[in-house]
């Protein structure tokens, strides 16, 4: 249990992903889904992104792995500008570095494909295996890594539970040995008793494979548990960013305060006495520049 240290994973301080003034406007919409957002993710850390649905956190994740166009701004991955890469060759190269795990394990796996073919997708596209045997060997290895039996290789997604499917999704993301994975609400569709299994798996994989995560979620207790630093989004803007403990102990933006005061706690005595803080939207509370108010603690000017 204790053979790895959860805190301060990002010792190197090296920036892996740098997002600058990123904006996305969906076609036919006037308000940007993501509006002028800048932050960076350090190598080896888990960066949590929280906010209500429609705040732009999922759009942000998809832009970073180049599944969505960027309206303006830029993304640097390991120092290389990937904002405008669009050729198949460049995208394929980038996909070997950056992968994504989706929320709904029922919708994100092709029901007509065998689990082995789903996991091997990347290996096949990139011609990474010299023979059928080598390929299947790698797939079985991947299944084992995520805690699935290697016999699953020839079965179909519908034969599995939600937790097992999410493991298949994780195996698929790992197939190309990426350095960076966007986890887009990876546990919110799973049963409570299975959520902890998947979170433990993600943490163990991060340790053994030196992965960097962008963890997008709305379960604030889980985000606090898994993240090193957390960004709070509201209406397309990043309004606050701080180390996980600092954000929860010392929230500064009124929206963050309201969010944290609303977290349901499994403690009836605490619930009976709690006071929630409502947040009323104010235009000027989200529009200004991010300022560093404490070391590492950034706040949108109020």
């Amino acid at each position: 249990m204790s053979d790895f240290d959860t805190n301060k994973k990002a010792e190197t301080g090296k920036i892996l992903v740098q997002v600058k003034n990123l904006t996305h406007i969906y076609e036919g919409s006037h308000t940007p889904a993501v509006n002028d957002v800048s932050f960076h993710i350090l190598e080896g850390e888990t960066f949590g992104l929280v906010g209500e649905s429609g705040c732009g956190k999922t759009t942000m994740g998809r832009m970073i792995v180049k599944l969505l166009d960027i309206s303006s701004g830029s993304i640097l991955f390991d120092g290389t500008d990937i904002t405008h890469i669009s050729s198949k060759e460049d995208l394929m190269k980038f996909r070997r570095e950056a992968q994504i795990i989706f929320q709904d394990p029922y919708a994100s796996l092709d029901p007509r494909k065998k689990v082995g073919d789903i996991v091997a997708e990347g290996i096949d596209t990139h011609h990474l295996a010299a023979s059928r045997e080598e390929r299947n060997g790698r797939v079985k290895e991947l299944l084992k890594t995520v805690g699935l039996d290697s016999s699953f290789i020839s079965r179909y997604p519908h034969e599995f539970s939600g937790g097992q499917r999410q493991r298949v999704g994780i195996a698929r993301a790992l197939a190309l040995k990426p350095r960076f994975i966007v986890c887009d609400e990876p546990i919110s569709a799973l049963d409570v008793s299975v959520q902890a299994q998947v979170v433990n798996l993600l943490k163990a994989l991060q340790e053994t494979k030196k992965l960097t995560y962008l963890f997008i979620a709305h379960d604030l207790s889980m985000v606090k548990y898994i993240s090193d630093r957390i960004g709070v989004m509201y209406r397309g803007r990043l309004v606050e960013l701080a180390p996980a403990d600092e954000l929860y102990n010392n929230p500064l933006h009124p929206y963050t305060k309201s969010l944290i005061s609303a977290i349901p706690l499994p403690d009836p005595a605490a619930e009976r006495t709690r006071r929630r803080q409502a947040y009323e939207y104010e235009e000027n509370a989200t529009g200004g520049e991010l300022r560093e108010v404490e070391p590492g603690h950034w706040l949108k000017a109020l």
Partner: protein, 352 residues
């Protein structure tokens, strides 16, 4: 809670579904009472039977479902035996339901004010004018601002949280004795979820409805529930007051659920987790259905299902660990901390 009036009594309910693999029992021998003015939370994972059990109370069953056994006593009648016509007088009138997706209960083509007025006029004889006045009151009560303007709008003009408020206004229009809420906040964001839960609590104080709150989220339960029933594989495996379930749980599955949720203070390298996943109703193991995932399972668990053992007037759990012949086991560490902190706070005796 001993002297409270019982408004609903479910006795030995069993429900089966016919599937391609034959008939499977989705609800097995479920019994509970609902008291006047209380909120009973029913907690369980997918396939635990929580929704099926509650839909049976409304007699909103799928075509392949049939009630195999049991009684549901409400106002001196057995709901199981009522005709569809008699049931229509109860459903949506005396017993109402709020679903996870508010659009299940709303007509997208009708102004929301009209929908509430119709509910009012369907259930009692009042004038159009009185219905309108009451409709505006109800919208105000559930927290929709500017009801005079907003009652003329259609469901799509409201956010998810506001739609759920409108559904609750319709339920209130019916003056229901019992409200069954099936994951009413699951699709909502944390802040909206908190507001809807506050609304439920507020309304309950004002109108004294009894609420059955179905959810998979223990955090939400701690906030709304007076009592909690935990379901697993079609059965109630533990039931008690919210304090008993959260501070003195006795079933290893309840321990697992409580332990696997991180709190804001959790800093262990890994989370506690229950191995495996819940069984499907068609494929239950012999003996205790939880035994294959239970680190505390005894040999007897693989042969016989445990009965509900009584712990207090209000607290029961179905685990052989409570049999006098069972070996004494240590409580999981952080649950022990929970118990001690709680018992000390209230000056109670910690002894088991």
């Amino acid at each position: 809670m001993g002297n409270k009036n019982t408004v609903l009594k479910v006795k030995n309910l069993a429900l089966s579904f016919s599937t391609a693999e034959g008939s499977v029992l989705a609800v097995r021998d479920v019994s509970f009472s609902l008291y006047e003015g209380e909120t009973l939370a029913i907690v369980g994972e997918s396939g635990s039977g929580k929704t099926a059990a509650c839909r049976t109370i409304m007699r909103l069953l799928k075509q392949n479902a049939s009630i195999e056994d049991g009684e549901i006593l409400f106002e001196g009648k057995d709901i199981v035996k009522l005709s569809e016509g008699e049931m229509r007088d109860i459903r949506g009138n005396k017993i109402s339901m709020v679903f996870q997706d508010p659009m299940t209960s709303l007509d997208p083509t009708m102004r929301i004010g009209k929908q509430i007025e119709e509910a009012l006029r369907l259930h009692r004889k009042i004038s159009r004018q009185a219905a309108k006045a009451r409709m505006l009151e109800l919208l105000q009560l559930v927290g929709i601002d500017d009801p005079k303007r907003r009652c003329r709008q259609y469901p799509h003009e409201f956010s998810g949280g506001q739609r759920q408020r409108i559904v609750i206004a319709i339920v209130l229009a019916c003056d229901a004795k019992i409200l069954i809420a099936d994951e009413p906040t699951t699709a909502l964001d944390v802040t909206m979820q908190a507001q809807i839960i506050d609304l439920f609590k507020d309304l309950q104080e004002k109108i004294k409805t009894s609420i059955i709150f179905i959810t998979h989220d223990l955090g939400v339960v701690a906030n709304v529930a007076d009592r909690v029933a935990v379901m697993y594989a079609g059965k109630i495996i533990e039931i008690g007051t919210a304090d008993e379930i959260f501070y003195d749980p006795r079933h290893p599955y309840t321990w697992g659920l409580l332990n696997s949720m991180p709190t804001l203070d959790t800093d262990t390298p890994l989370l506690y987790n229950i191995e495996g996943s819940p069984p499907s109703p068609g494929n239950l193991p012999q003996g205790d259905a939880f035994a294959p995932r239970n680190p505390y399972a005894l040999e007897v668990d693989e042969l016989y299902e445990p009965p509900l053992f009584q712990i207090s007037d209000t607290h029961y759990a179905a685990t052989w660990l409570l049999d006098p012949r069972a070996p004494r086991i240590e409580f999981p560490e952080n649950l022990e901390q929970r118990r001690t902190a709680y018992f000390e706070r209230f000056g109670l005796d910690v002894g088991l």
